[in-house]
């Protein structure tokens, strides 16, 4: 149901006035609150032991961003070589693992299907962070492989489940038609069913990759030098007064990358047609509710 204009009438003069008034009020409230918060942040503060700290918009709190080494540490070392490198490798591996798990989960042999189901349930129920710790402590790897391994297993399990849901949602006739043409069961699955399921689920898979990207920030906890850890190191090096400015820069960097990926997911959903978009809307919360970590 599109909620846009079924639930209420086209606004008459009274409703339009009400809408306008409340919009203006809300805008004033929001902008006012935001401005107040910004102003408050800009005020100098006196600490308990009497030293006066400059406001957060004071140039003294932002001057490190004049140095190219700070940007290089944050964006090149942290974002590209840290976050994106781990996320990129984990995304590729998770896709491969997801496809494998999807086939194993729908295999004709029960001896493959049932263990896969148990493994999937097991991995979907665990926090990524615990998996990272497990890989790091039990297998004695460094933070990078712990992060990539945990993200691969977790997101692979979820992509596998999404693909399985995609296979299950296909019309039965697709498989029957494939079999009736004389294709084997495997060939039908590979050539007829899987390509359709994959296209249908592509928006969900991309949305899951956004989750994967966000989850790389968990590697902060296992001391993998991604962007948040780099920001923390910079804070320790330059001093606490840059905590806020570094946070703002990291947040903006994350938002830009994530919004770009989300926009890609929406674009893919539109391109694969309204059916896929509806699937994204509802399935998103069905299969992905578990995913959003």
């Amino acid at each position: 149901m599109s909620t846009s204009n079924v639930l209420y009438d086209a606004p008459g003069p009274k409703a339009r006035r009400l809408s306008l008034v409340s919009s203006v009020l809300l805008a004033v409230l929001l902008i006012g609150g935001f401005a107040w918060f910004m102003w408050r942040l800009g005020q100098p503060r006196t600490t308990v032991n009497g030293t006066v700290l400059s406001g957060l918009w004071d140039p003294a709190r932002w001057d490190i961003f004049g140095e190219s080494v700070v940007w290089r540490t944050l964006l090149v070392d942290g974002m590209v070589m840290g976050t994106l490198r781990a996320a990129g490798l984990a995304a590729i591996l998770a896709l491969i693992l997801g496809v494998v798990l999807c086939f194993a989960r729908t295999a004709s042999s029960r001896w493959v299907r049932v263990p896969t189901k148990i493994i999937l349930e097991f991995f979907r129920g665990l926090p990524v962070l615990l998996m990272m710790l497990f890989i790091m402590l039990a297998l004695k790897t460094n933070g990078y492989w712990a992060a990539v391994g945990a993200l691969t297993i977790y997101n692979g399990a979820i992509i596998g489940e999404a693909l399985r849901a995609g296979l299950a949602a296909l019309p039965k006739g697709q498989r029957e038609a494939g079999l009736s043409l004389g294709l084997t069961g495997t060939a039908t699955r590979l050539l007829i069913e899987f390509p359709q399921a994959f296209r249908q689920m592509l928006p969900i898979i991309v949305a899951q990759l956004v989750v994967l990207l966000k989850d790389t920030s968990l590697a902060y906890v296992v001391a993998y030098p991604e962007i948040l850890r780099k920001a923390d190191q910079l804070k320790q090096f330059y001093g606490n007064r840059y905590a806020f400015s570094l946070f703002v820069v990291v947040l903006v960097a994350y938002l830009i990358v994530n919004f770009a990926l989300s926009a890609l997911a929406r674009w893919l959903a539109r391109r694969t047609g309204p059916k896929a978009e509806a699937a994204l809307m509802t399935q998103n919360t069905k299969t992905m509710g578990r995913a959003e970590a």
Binding site: M1, L7, F122, G125, L129, F244, S262, T285, K286, A293
Partner: protein, 216 residues
Amino acid sequence: MEAVLSNLDQYWLGFKVTLELLVVGGIGALLLGIVIALLRISPIASLRAVATGYTELLRNTPLTLVFFFMLIVLPSLDIKFPNPKIGAFIALALYTSAFVAEAIRSGINGVPVGQAEAARSVGLTFGQTVRLIIMPQAIRMVIPPLINVFIALTKNTSVAAGFTIVELVAISKSLANANGNAVVPILLGIAVCYLIITIPLGQLAGWMERKAMVQR
């Protein structure tokens, strides 16, 4: 195994905190999420815009950053919580509320248009349509995805471990350090604690989904 059994009290300590984070964060997220979802379907465009902005912002921010803001940035601005746990509750509730709102909205979108049209055509107002016709049908479809959101929340409570809150993952770290020769059983014990919460919830979601499907 021995290392697990001799530390059961530690496990229980962590389990209680995880459960606490789940319950308090979950209730906060549910209340906030319902408000956001209602704003998103309201007739007033500006309310819709605010709610959309809120969900998009929080859905695209890593939870670690929300925690970072609550427990590291705010204290450095002299906004301190009496207990870091309160900051964790707020971070979890804020982050999860965006997903709760999305789940509820997708449930509302799942109600066939004809239902709203019929309600409007017999003269019900916006409030009556939502309250009497849409919501009772939407809630049924919303519960399974909502349970999934709470499963995700259960797993997300682990992020608190990075911010001085002693829940299951933090316990696992300290236990693993103390018992270097029994790391695997200790971590498996922690895994079981999580599965105790997540697997029954998952089964419940699946069961409710099947029930809802039969009725439609």
